[in-house]
Amino acid sequence: MSAGRPVKFYTRARKFPRLLGKTLDGRTLPGGPYSIRQAVVAGVVLFVMAKTISWWGGSMSGVSRGILIVAAVLGSTVVTRNLPTFPRNPLSLLLGLLRVITSPSRGRYRNRAITIPAGGRVRGAALIDDSPAEHHRLGEAPPPSQPDVEPEQLREELPFLDAGTATAAPRPAGVDVAPAPTLSRVSSLLAAAASNTGTHTGERDE
């Protein structure tokens, strides 16, 4: 039992920078030692510079191109030398940063970015038998332009939608028009107006 010893973490016993200071035949590398990270970055810089030479070095002489490439490669090793390695490797850090920068503007749900489709007017119409017997049910019928059940469900599931710019959700084909009784021209006009007002209200909220 190491009761008397101070309580410590021993991560340092395992994690230390692995650097390359010598070649296989024992010669010291100039400017070394280098970390694997430095080598990788230098390699990438060299590759990119070489591949884009026509773009940046058009009017330069061969010597100055060479100097520039060497300078860029050396510069990259200097820059990357003092980047922290522990606890996370720089790639992970970079990915983390990218992840935050590119994160969707409304958060992520079930591992997918939340997108809210833009609202749009629903087109199409269906005719319903308007025999007088149905009239008395007008009062309790839902507003004619009420979207179908799908967006309602979505809204229930994602109530925060209401807080944002949300308005109408896409309507699956085939159920385009609300099953409300279409009674007269006047009432359907009123209904259309009501649906427009709803949309505007949503926008005003924003």
Partner: protein, 836 residues
């Protein structure tokens, strides 16, 4: 970098199936008592934690959550086992308590262990197949088929085997399905609409929760981009200043902002133990912190080969870096490695644990969460612990998932892992608490734990039944520290729950009478010339007890030995048949009967002596036949003994002083004994009725050999007769020193003692180290402290003390009074002016 959604596909009690085809076992564990313990005990607790960390091969998740309590849950615990129709006052008290608790941040810290279980045999095929089926079912919007009975049974057996490896002091039990659902819900709702955890396993339901249905997927937004509004603001967001995770629970639409902090290193010279319990003492941060440890146990052989490899690589690095001048860094690595290898060489049982310790703080807004994160970093870092921590950028979401069961360790969590020995990680003593009290009973104090208030309950009956201790509670503190208030509020609660209370009141103004009389039929015997009730044992007690009690009373009063002729006379006269024959039903009748004997006889002389005693002004409560006798069955009985003069210990023990004792003191001593004897007969009378004797001045019970003996008898046998004792004392050593049975008083409360000697005596009495200067300082300066410029303590800090409970746990508490305004006003009125 992985992105995730809810890992759980299906769960039942103690088991959780995941999308990855792995089944996790989940347990709730009890925190070990740790507060104020001596170092030896703390080493023991660390040892048990070490054993816990070595229990599971491979990965394990240890976590602790701060759990809000519902006031209704607290009140349910308060009324459990009490017949409210018989005790309507307790129903009112419970109702008032419910109102009072509303709005208080109630809660406690609870511990969890979750372990992914290995798939063996057929399950290696079955589980991945099942999770694929679930994915397919979800995709087709079909119902997920439940896990079949046989598979559940097999997994349960596997989990039970694993549970046996958890050290027993943690009292592990499988977490109920509701608790598991709560855990996920809590993680999504910290500082938002967090709900109270279920009290325990649900009783009947055959309910099999489909994780998807019960535990929704959270909406995750690292950096809180969705709060920024315009696209421009989102584009120009500085990720470095927004290192938090916004979690929205779709079922409530409430957003919680959380910051995950990772511990990266101990201070350069390590932490001392005891003292270095960074998780055990996390509540000292003043923040509501949840923590999780993702641990991976590494076998000894592997540790040694890894160490050897590290040594080789380190040597190579010396060679490689020789030219670069970075050697000093390597030296540090080398010395750490050397030290580490030495530990394994010294201790053949030691194992390595690679772990990531994640601490979570939250807030209702992004700024609040960021601020909490900063404060926690400050607490663990520069201001207190000097540990290295970080709030990792771009990893907040992965770290959040890593605090939950069912989630495979994310790669970033592995990168952040630290390496140490099991016993070093155990020094964090993570599953500990300073909570005291019983699960049910009456609330006597509150405790602040994990920034949440919890009610300290005492259940005297259950405790004495289960734990073989006396039904006794003692409080010790200086004048004005609050012990009378504590005893009174406890007596009041017991009375309202249907217990009978006998109080010995030594206050000149009759405080106990007032405290108990409110709304209760209370009989008060004032032992003085103003007595209104009689406590004549011949009138009060049943005949068989009456003779015995009267005989011992007269023996002390008239100072004769039990083998003397006087004793024989009284023995004859007090005998039941004799008294019946001569109609001797009171002490006065006995006195007159003796005086009627021939003048020269011993009987007559004894009669005369008795007459002398009966003429003293205090004797009215015994010899005045016109006063009504007390009823032994009265709910509350108070004996006012303030005017009685009691002999000092010196007078009792020194022969020549004993013989010169004043008549008043002789009478006082005998009366005191009589009161105690009566109380014992009353409390012991009915073995089904809880009856409790309470006295603020323990000295009056333990001061003389006779009462001290009675007291011991009471502590030994009271349990069988449901007879309890409540004591108050100014000086533990003086008052309890002579009482051999003091160890049977399990529950003790130590309150403020500004005098250092008394503080040390109090600490020794309560079972803590009297030489520990820190503890002495707590008692003298930090319990209801009185500021230099003030004459009374801060009202917010009245009634503080160190409580030892029936289970021998210690914790700091703050005494509370009754919740009902009617009773509270009375108690408060009594103590107004006094420092409560």
């Amino acid at each position: 970098m992985s992105r995730r959604s809810m890992p759980a596909t299906w769960f039942t009690d103690g088991l959780l199936w995941t999308r990855e085809g792995v089944v996790w076992a989940i347990w709730r564990v009890r925190s070990l008592p740790y507060g104020l313990r001596p170092d030896r005990d703390k080493q023991g607790v660390r040892g048990v934690h070490t054993a816990l960390l070595r229990a599971f091969q491979g990965e394990a998740l240890y976590a602790s959550t701060v759990t809000p309590h519902d006031p209704a849950q607290v009140v349910e615990r308060m009324i459990a086992g009490v017949d409210l129709t018989q005790n309507p006052r307790w129903a009112l008290e419970a109702e008032a308590r419910l109102d009072e608790l509303e709005g208080l941040p109630l809660g406690e810290r609870i511990g969890w262990i979750a372990v992914p279980m290995r798939n063996t045999g057929w399950s290696r095929v079955q589980e991945p197949l099942r999770s694929a089926t679930y994915d397919l079912a979800d995709w087709l919007a079909l119902r997920r088929p439940p896990v079949e009975e046989a598979a559940v049974a097999a997994r349960r057996a596997q989990a039970d085997q694993l549970m046996k490896q958890i050290p027993r002091p943690f009292e592990p039990r499988p977490a109920s399905r509701l608790e598991i659902a709560w855990w996920f819900g809590h993680a999504m709702n910290r500082s938002a609409l967090d709900s109270a955890a279920p009290l325990g396993p649900p009783d009947d339901l055959e309910l099999r929760l489909h994780a998807g249905a019960v535990v929704g997927n959270p909406v995750l937004d690292e950096g809180g981009r969705s709060d920024l509004g315009s696209r421009l603001a989102q584009m120009s967001m500085d990720p470095l200043t927004r290192r938090f995770l916004k979690i929205t629970d779709p079922s409530t639409n409430a957003s919680s902002y959380q910051v995950q902090l990772v511990v990266l290193d101990t201070p350069p010279n390590g932490l001392a133990f005891p003292g270095g319990e960074w998780l055990g003492r996390i509540d000292e941060s003043g923040l509501e912190v949840d923590w999780a440890i993702r641990a991976d146990l590494v076998r000894r052989e592997k540790v040694q080969s890894e160490n050897a490899r590290a040594l080789r690589e380190l040597n190579d690095q010396y060679d490689q870096q020789g030219a670069g001048g970075l050697m000093s860094g390597l030296d540090k690595n080398a010395s750490t490695l050397g030290e580490y290898a030495q530990i394994f060489a010294d201790d053949e049982l030691e194992m390595e644990v690679s772990f990531t310790n994640i601490l979570t703080v939250s807030g209702p807004t992004a700024d609040a969460a960021i601020d909490a994160g900063r404060q926690l970093r400050e607490h663990l870092g520069p201001s207190v612990w000097k540990m290295k921590t970080s709030i990792e950028l771009g990893a907040q979401e992965d770290l959040w998932w890593a605090t939950l069961p069912g989630v495979a360790t994310p790669s970033v969590v592995r990168q952040l892992a630290q390496v140490t020995t099991t016993s070093n990680l155990a020094a964090a003593t993570f599953f500990t608490s300073t909570r005291v009290g019983d699960p049910t009973g009456f609330p006597i104090a509150e405790q602040v734990d994990a920034q949440r208030v919890s009610m300290v309950m005492l259940d005297m009956l259950a405790a004495s039944r289960n734990l073989d201790t006396a039904i006794a509670v003692a409080a010790c503190g200086e004048l004005g520290a609050g012990k009378s208030y504590f005893l009174m509020s406890m007596a009041r609660a017991l009375l309202d729950r249907g217990a009978q209370i006998i109080a010995i009141d030594r206050t000149p103004v009759g405080e106990w009478g007032r405290a108990l009389a409110a709304e209760t039929e209370t009989q008060i015997v004032d032992i003085s010339s103003e007595a209104t009730m009689s406590m004549d044992p011949l009138r009060v007690l049943p005949p068989q007890d009456a003779a015995e009690v009267t005989q011992s009373f007269l023996q002390v009063l008239m100072n004769f030995s039990s083998s003397s002729e006087e004793a024989d006379v009284f023995s004859t006269v007090l005998e039941h048949d004799y008294r019946d024959e001569h109609s001797l039903h009171s002490l006065l009748a006995v006195q007159q009967h003796l005086l009627s004997q021939p003048e020269a006889s011993l009987e007559h002389r004894l009669g005369k002596r008795l007459r002398t005693q009966s003429r003293t002004s205090f004797a009215r409560a015994l010899f005045d036949e016109s006063l009504p006798a007390i009823d032994m069955k009265a709910p509350a009985l108070v004996f006012g003994t303030a005017k009685l003069k009691l002999p000092s210990t010196d007078e009792l023990n020194t022969a020549h002083r004993h013989s010169q004792m004043s008549l008043e003191k002789v009478f006082g001593r005998a009366m005191n004994l009589l009161v105690f004897a009566l109380a014992r007969r009353i409390c012991f009378a009915d073995p089904l009725q809880l009856a409790v004797l309470v006295t603020d001045e323990t000295a009056s019970l333990t001061g003389s050999p006779e009462t001290c003996e009675e007291c011991g008898l009471w502590l030994r046998d009271g349990r069988k007769h449901l007879a309890g004792l409540l004591f108050g004392s100014h000086d533990a050593e003086a008052d309890f020193g002579a009482l051999v049975e003091v160890h049977l008083i399990a529950v003790r409360l130590l309150m403020r003692h500004r005098d250092e000697t008394l503080a040390r005596r109090g600490l020794a009495w309560i079972g803590l180290d009297p030489e520990d200067q820190d503890l002495v300082d707590v008692v003298t300066r930090d319990l209801s402290p009185i500021p230099d410029e003030a004459t009374a303590p801060d009202p917010q800090r009245r009634g503080e003390g160190i409580l030892r409970d029936f289970r021998n746990r210690y914790g700091r508490v703050k005494v509370i009074g009754p919740a009902r305004s009617e009773t509270e006003r009375v108690l408060h009125g009594i103590h107004k002016g006094a420092i409560v």
